[in-house]
């Protein structure tokens, strides 16, 4: 308890509050602009954190994550264009509310429900993370390989419509993760005689390329259209009765978002869809959904914000990110010299507690800023793409250059930018590449250590109970997703 109070005092330092407010604003801004995401914002902002200490850096990036989730609902409600796929379902009832002149009420409910969902999931994260990390401390390379394989099985979940393309993208990412000097022996791999490649492909420029530069190229292709305003914000706050009426569904969404969000690969989009369909299924008036029902906004928004805490649990305790945004956040931890996983909880509780405290305050700041900025946020979506594209490209390239002042990092960012653009153009998702770049070295290292331990006998992975359970879970996860996709249930891309 004392550690927690100290953590709150640290988070209340002016620099941390400033980073939180800045991160929240950037998150809401990027979340609101259709096509731009919190992942892209975090990727662009990582180079900004090099000169900063760990706590303000991570508070900045985690606030972007929170703000991005809320921001995407604003344009879903006002102009029927979700800032991110996670808010697509919010649109179903949010936009009809806007047409009735109640856009302000819908956005307020989205903000309040999002805050409750976020706070609930952070509470669960605080309760579950320390015991989970203590279990994970007992893991040997055998269990770690199975955990990494389980993480990689989620590539199916983040693959959108085509699991084959997702697996190809993921395998390509895994091969790219092996570029450089071998982890165990001084052997250069795939360096093609280029000395700079011996250092491998650095993760941060790769992420900048995959999510920022490729997006800029994609926007160049799509052109600079600007959507016209179709709804005005007239009323702002909901009545007490309206708020009370949404509380039950907000809590339902919070629980669904946290629990499903913990599963690697589930992602905010899937959680929001599940929460919405559960709310509609259990409602006494399902016919009202789709016509402007406040619960149809509250439940999915609580769920997609609750994913933030849920998805952080496997990332922080096992070092296994479940989706693209937590993979990028994991990269940000590494940049700060912190390796997420059980050792983080053993050796760096001085960082972990302020992160917990920062996430609680960040959610409260989202409520304050979300409501205060409400009259202005819907205008954010009208930033012209002809201005936006050069800004994203310049920040991406200069950010990669500023990392070390070397052209190599920018070259890596450009390579991944071009690769990302080509992959997306032909229907290959980018999230598996990002996950594979993080999980590849963990998987290879633990696989080879396990093989040394067993004298080359691969049955070692099936003779240890935790490893066996994780492998069964991985196979089950893949089977369930494949069956669902074969039946035509589209799994949304993360």
């Amino acid at each position: 308890m004392e550690d927690f109070l100290r953590a709150f005092l640290i988070v209340f330092q002016p620099i941390n509050i400033l980073m939180m407010a800045g991160g929240m604003f950037i998150g809401i801004l990027f979340g609101s602009i259709p096509g731009l995401t919190a992942t892209l914002a975090i990727a662009l902002l990582i180079p900004f954190t090099f000169g900063l200490p760990a706590i303000p850096s991570l508070i900045l990036l985690l606030s972007i994550y929170n703000g991005g989730m809320y921001g995407s609902s604003v344009t879903a409600i006002t102009i029927r264009t979700p800032g991110a796929p996670a808010s697509a379902v919010t649109m179903l009832d949010g936009y009809p509310l806007a047409l009735k002149g109640r856009a302000g009420t819908a956005i307020s409910i989205s903000c309040i429900a999002g805050t409750i969902g976020g706070l609930f999931s952070v509470g669960v994260m605080i309760l579950l993370s320390p015991p989970l990390s203590r279990i994970a401390l007992k893991f040997s390379p055998v269990e770690y390989f199975s955990v990494a394989l389980f993480g990689l099985s989620t590539i199916f979940a983040v693959s959108g419509k085509s699991p084959t393309k997702g697996m190809i993208a993921g395998t390509l990412g895994l091969i790219l993760s092996t570029v450089g000097i071998d982890v165990h022996l001084p052997v250069p791999r795939f360096t093609l005689g280029i000395p700079a490649l011996q250092a491998g492909l650095p993760f941060v420029p790769a992420v900048i390329g995959l999510f920022a530069l490729s997006e800029a190229f994609r926007l160049v292709e799509k052109g600079g259209l600007v959507t016209k305003i179709t709804a005005k914000i007239e009323t702002i706050f909901p009545t007490w009765e309206e708020f009370r009426g949404t509380l039950k569904e907000t809590l339902r969404g919070s629980v669904i978002g946290t629990l499903v969000g913990m599963l690697p690969g589930a992602g905010a989009t899937m959680c929001a869809f599940i929460a919405y369909s559960e709310t509609k299924r259990t409602s006494k008036h399902p016919e009202r959904y789709g016509t402007g029902e406040l619960n149809g906004v509250a439940s999915p928004e609580a769920a997609n914000n609750a994913v933030t805490g849920g998805a952080m649990i496997p990332m922080m305790t096992l070092g296994i990110p479940g989706d693209a945004v937590t993979a990028v956040l994991l990269g940000a931890f590494i940049v700060q010299g912190l390796m997420p996983g059980p050792l983080l909880f053993r050796d760096h509780m001085d960082i972990v507690y302020p992160i917990f405290a920062g996430m609680i305050l960040s959610n409260l700041m989202m409520l304050a800023m979300g409501l205060a900025l409400l009259p202005f946020t819907s205008a954010i979506a009208y930033v012209e793409k002809e201005v936006l594209v050069p800004i994203v490209a310049i920040f991406g390239i200069v950010g990669a250059f500023a990392m070390s002042g070397a052209v190599y990092e920018v070259g890596v960012a450009l390579f991944f930018g071009i690769l990302g653009y080509i992959l997306e153009r032909y229907g290959f998702p980018l999230a598996p590449v990002c996950l594979a770049l993080i999980l590849g070295p963990i998987a290879e290292n633990s696989l080879r250590q396990s093989m040394i331990m067993s004298n080359g006998d691969p049955t070692i992975f099936f003779t240890r109970p935790i490893s066996l359970i994780l492998l069964i879970l991985a196979v089950l996860a893949v089977t369930v997703l494949l069956v669902k996709q074969r039946k035509g249930v589209i799994v949304p891309e993360v």
Partner: protein
């Protein structure tokens, strides 16, 4: 047959063969079966299998029906123009990377911004492009060079 998927399958197959061939140049150590070659070879074979599946699937599938909204020629023409724009943006980004070292951050960033904005604009608005380019170059410099103390190149020709 779906041409784009079949092409992706062929490229995937080529990449898997290339990756496997390169792994043969990694020195092999007899300490364990899982040496430096092991994981990349496993991945190359897996990539080959997946690409072959994609190729066969694409060859057996029916051709997608093109959009009926526009005439095919019009579709192809606008698609070609858009692809050229993307190619321009990629080449521009590579040129920017090298120009930054030669002519420095300020001039190269200004030119790169104007270039990308012109690529995006249907009707070229020179004054708007120049004013935004100056503002963004200035803000980027303040953020990276002054606040974050990153050393941005002043350019070889100005030394």
């Amino acid at each position: 047959m779906r041409i784009s998927e079949a092409t992706a399958g062929v490229i995937g197959l080529f990449l898997s063969v290339f990756a496997y061939w390169r792994t043969l140049y990694f020195p092999n150590f007899a300490i364990t079966t899982a040496g430096p070659r092991f994981f990349p070879q496993l991945l190359a074979v897996f990539l080959g299998g997946l690409s072959a599946y994609l190729l066969v699937h694409a060859l057996l599938a029916k051709q997608e029906i093109p959009s009926a909204e526009k005439a095919p020629e019009e579709n192809q023409a606008s698609q070609g123009a858009r692809s050229l724009k993307v190619l321009g943006a990629i080449v521009g980004s590579i040129v920017y990377l090298f120009a930054m070292r030669q002519i420095g951050f300020f001039i190269s960033t200004f030119l790169y911004f104007v270039f990308l904005m012109f690529l995006m604009q249907e009707k070229k608005k020179i004054l708007k492009a120049i004013s935004f380019a100056i503002a963004v170059t200035g803000v980027t410099y303040v953020i990276f060079a002054i606040l974050l103390k990153a050393s941005l190149p002043i350019g070889v020709i100005f030394r």
